[in-house]
């Protein structure tokens, strides 16, 4: 087993020479690359020798060589120092060899994979473009080929980072936007469920600034932007971003912060000033307390002539403003003004004039505290008279009931439901007046659509349904 191997002497001189001449550890200048390669390849081919029980003998050889390093007699400190260096260097060599081998294995695997994978890269990219963002990231962590294909910009055209809200921060958003380039079409950020602690979000106000880079290159391609409960997101931080998104048609912001003195409609106007193509607007604002002026309304209406769906939750709109809003936006089909504490419903009267040809399809006024029963009745009567022929969904649910004529609140308003069912059978009328916890099968809440009665679910999912409605529109 210990028969000398003609190739082994290559190792030993190196070892002994380094012990004898510790100063020569740094590579000598005339030790050129081919010599090293030869040495290494001859060392590696050691394992080809069949004569020896391979690992055992090589292990023994290693032990023997390294044991030579330990002196039999305690040497000077200088010797110990050199021995330490020698052993460290051996460790280094071993780890370098290990890493190099791993790299080689990986390269080989990549090569094999690229020949055996049946799809062309374009096809792989096409498959990836049908994946949602999270699955795309998972796929990109599989192998180098997937990784490369997942970098293609087509895959990032619809970015949805709401599913991984805890892990997403500004850098991630920036990377994704940058990867999408000119293919970016829609972007969703934030955490949809408001129950999640807002402080756990890592996104800051400036997370959307990559949209403005390069004169708004990516922003200009964006068509749809949904922001859910981003921290401290207000008009000041959003307006530079939105001014770069000239082609935006769908904007949804849940959790917009408004200063107590700012006119929310004016702020809205500022936000949408450059987005003239906008068609769907959904803003849920927190803390709005400012006064709304007519001029801001006019400006807003003038800036967004194509608006077909508007949802302004938490804005302190009153009936007059609402009336002007409906008249100002000619193409308005969907209105959702839930949680507006100043709407009493008398705007319905003003609508009669344009009621005949109004394109209105959806009207949602949930949780409007002072919404009057009489006004809703008036509206329903006008429906029966034939106005609003396009309307499909009306929702006046309210946990606190509607306001009666006497000033009380009623949970069982008298609406002409039966006639409505008969005459306008394709209209869905939602009027749930109890909180979900006390919902029972025969209570006052009623929903009718096509003559059947079924409950609509709670606010959030109704909203989502509404969204789906919009999507299918």
């Amino acid at each position: 087993m210990d028969a000398p191997n003609p190739k082994r002497p290559c190792l030993v001189p190196l070892g002994t020479s380094s012990i004898e001449n510790p100063c020569s550890l740094p590579i000598a200048p005339d030790f050129n690359q081919s010599n090293i390669d030869l040495t290494i390849s001859s060392f590696l081919s050691l394992s080809d020798l069949p004569l020896f029980s391979l690992p055992l003998s090589i292990g023994c050889s290693f032990d023997r060589v390294l044991d030579n390093v330990i002196p039999s007699i305690a040497g000077t400190s200088r010797d110990e120092f050199d021995q330490d260096r020698f052993l460290d260097r051996t460790l280094q060599l071993a780890s370098l060899l290990y890493k190099s081998t791993k790299r080689c294995i990986r390269k080989r695997a990549t090569l094999q994979n690229s020949t055996s994978w049946p799809l062309l890269p374009e096809l792989t990219i096409k498959v990836f473009s049908m994946l949602d963002t999270k699955s795309l990231m998972q796929a990109s962590a599989c192998c180098t080929m997937f990784n490369k294909c997942a970098m293609d910009r087509v895959c990032y055209s619809h970015i949805d980072l709401t599913t991984a809200a805890e892990d997403v921060d500004n850098g991630v958003v920036c990377v994704m936007i940058h990867r999408a380039g000119k293919e970016l079409r829609s972007l969703k950020l934030g955490s949809i469920s408001s129950s999640a602690e807002p402080t756990t979000s890592l996104l800051t106000r400036s997370c959307l600034t990559p949209l403005t880079f390069n004169h708004g290159f990516t922003g200009g391609h964006l068509r749809s932007l949904h922001l859910y409960h981003l921290r401290m997101i207000d008009c000041g931080s959003l307006s530079p971003v939105l001014s770069a998104c000239l082609n935006l048609t769908d904007l949804k912001i849940v959790g917009l912060i408004s200063g107590s003195r700012d006119n929310p409609l004016e702020q809205l106007g500022l936000l949408t000033r450059n987005c003239r193509l906008i068609e769907h607007l959904f803003i849920e604002i927190y803390g709005a307390a400012g006064l709304i002026t007519d001029s801001s309304l006019l400006e807003f209406a003038a800036n967004c002539p194509n608006l077909s769906s508007i949802s302004l939750l938490g804005f302190l709109l009153n009936d007059a403003i609402l009336q002007k809003l409906i008249k100002g936006f000619r193409r308005l089909k969907h209105i959702n003004l839930s949680s507006s504490p100043e709407i009493s419903g008398c705007f319905f009267r003003g609508l009669e004039l344009c009621g005949k040809d109004s394109p209105l399809e959806t009207l949602i006024l949930r949780d409007c505290y002072i919404l009057k029963e009489s006004e809703v009745l008036l509206f329903l009567n006008s429906l029966l008279a034939g106005d609003f022929k396009y309307i499909r969904l009306i929702d006046v649910s309210n946990v606190d009931g509607l306001v009666c004529d006497g000033g009380n609140r009623t949970f069982e308003p008298r609406f002409p439901i039966e006639e409505l069912k008969k005459q306008r059978s394709n209209v869905t009328f939602v009027a749930i007046f109890e909180s979900q916890s006390s919902l029972s099968s025969s209570s006052s809440g009623e929903v009718y659509s096509d003559g059947t009665s079924s409950w609509t679910s709670n606010y959030n999912s109704a909203e989502e349904e509404h969204d789906n409605d919009l999507d299918s529109v």
């Binding site: 049946p118 498959v127 994946l131 699955s135 990109s140 192998c143 180098t144 890592l202 400036s206």
Partner: protein, 380 residues
């Protein structure tokens, strides 16, 4: 021709076949309507007139093998009949797709080479559905993919490959934009001095010797990684924003400070930092081509600490030389514990830049720099 002869000829014409030859040499014939459903075959027949007989069979692309061909023709045979309703077609498609993933991939490939777009869409979507919602290990198992990514690459799927020249260009553009944004901010609140060069050397030296900097070390062999930088900014912005509000309240020439921290532990430190004072020299960091490292293991951290001390010493001596120059790569080696490491220019180029000073406590004497952030002077 008489009626009778016409009647005889018609059935023959109705049964016309197209001859196809796959890459492995086998020839088969398919009904014409079925074959013509595939745009590629259609094109060949019309433009080149082949396929009408066995000798002139259309040769199909390599990716189509006989098994796939028969599957494709099943699909075509069903769909080319015009009378089917959409629902029927959908039901058929759903059933058709049920096969193992390998065959599905081959089918996608074959359909693509025959330019049969509806089938390509169908199969691609089926593949996407398979991939959706699975972890990388599961995906690897399903598609028999090798695990050839480094641990690093796996852990950071969002890291950009540095070799892409587009990315480098964009990094520079981002850098410019950030500078512009900051300039605008500065103009609003403060009067500002833009260039490091105009500062005196003494100020900077005193910073190194005496101040209590909470600055961040950037190092690594990776080159500009704007994303990580922004990531850093993002993660520390939470605490910074509160501080920034304090800063803006100060009536002075102090500029708004920005802190970038390496590790999460440092964020705690950042939040404790007091607001700035007038007399402290506070330049702004420009993270032009800063090098930031997210995860530094303890051993590397130690090494970095040592490097930083060494660097600080050299900084003192060589500052006068390097100031005013655009970029100064610094090479140095450290000896410690008997190992010698040579850090070459490609590994650790340091760019001397604006330094961030934060904190109003003036620590006398030499201060141990935990992290040093080294950034770029002037503009790119």
């Amino acid at each position: 021709m008489s009626e009778g002869e016409m009647a005889i000829i018609k059935p023959e014409m109705m049964k016309s076949y197209i001859w196809l030859e796959t890459a492995d040499g086998s020839i088969q014939q398919v009904e014409q309507e079925v074959a013509m459903f595939c745009p590629m075959i259609c094109q060949e027949v019309i433009q080149k007139g082949v396929g009408s007989s066995k000798n002139y069979a259309i040769s199909l692309p390599q990716r189509v093998n006989p098994a796939m061909l028969s599957l494709i023709f099943d699909y075509c045979r069903f769909h080319q009949v015009p009378g089917r309703s959409n629902k029927e077609r959908k039901v058929y498609d759903e059933k058709f797709i049920r096969m193992d993933t390998k065959r599905l991939c081959e089918l996608t490939s074959a359909a693509d080479s025959l330019q049969l777009k509806p089938l390509v869409d169908l199969t691609s979507r089926a593949l996407a559905r398979i991939i959706e919602g699975k972890t990388p290990e599961e995906i690897r198992e399903i598609f028999h993919l090798p695990d050839d990514l480094t641990e690093e690459e796996k852990l950071e799927p969002l890291k950009n490959t540095m070799d892409d020249p587009r990315i480098r260009l964009l990094n520079r553009l981002y850098a410019k934009k950030r500078k512009e944004l900051k300039e605008r901010e500065k103009l609003k609140s403060v009067e500002v001095e833009e260039h490091v060069d105009e500062r005196s050397v003494d100020d900077l030296l005193s910073f190194i010797n005496g101040r209590d900097p909470k600055v961040v070390k950037t190092s690594k062999s990776k080159k500009k990684n704007k994303k990580r930088k922004e990531q850093k900014n993002g993660s520390s912005n939470g605490t910074c924003e509160a501080l920034e509000k304090d800063l803006h309240n100060l009536d002075s020439k102090s500029q708004s400070a920005e802190i970038v921290d390496n590790t999460a532990s440092c964020l705690g430190d950042v939040s404790n930092l007091p607001s700035m004072e007038d007399d402290i020299f506070t330049p702004k960091t420009e993270f032009e081509d800063g090098y930031i490292d997210d995860e530094i293991d303890p051993a590397l951290k130690e090494l970095l600490d040592r490097e930083v001390e060494d660097f600080a010493r050299r900084l003192n001596s060589s500052w006068v030389l390097s100031i005013g120059q655009e970029r100064q790569p610094v090479n140095f080696s450290i000896n410690g514990n008997g190992t010698s490491r040579r850090l070459t220019g490609t590994c650790y180029p340091f760019f001397l830049v604006n330094l961030y000073i934060y904190g109003n406590s003036v620590a006398q004497g030499a201060v141990e720099l935990n992290y040093l952030s080294v950034l770029e002077i002037g503009h790119t």
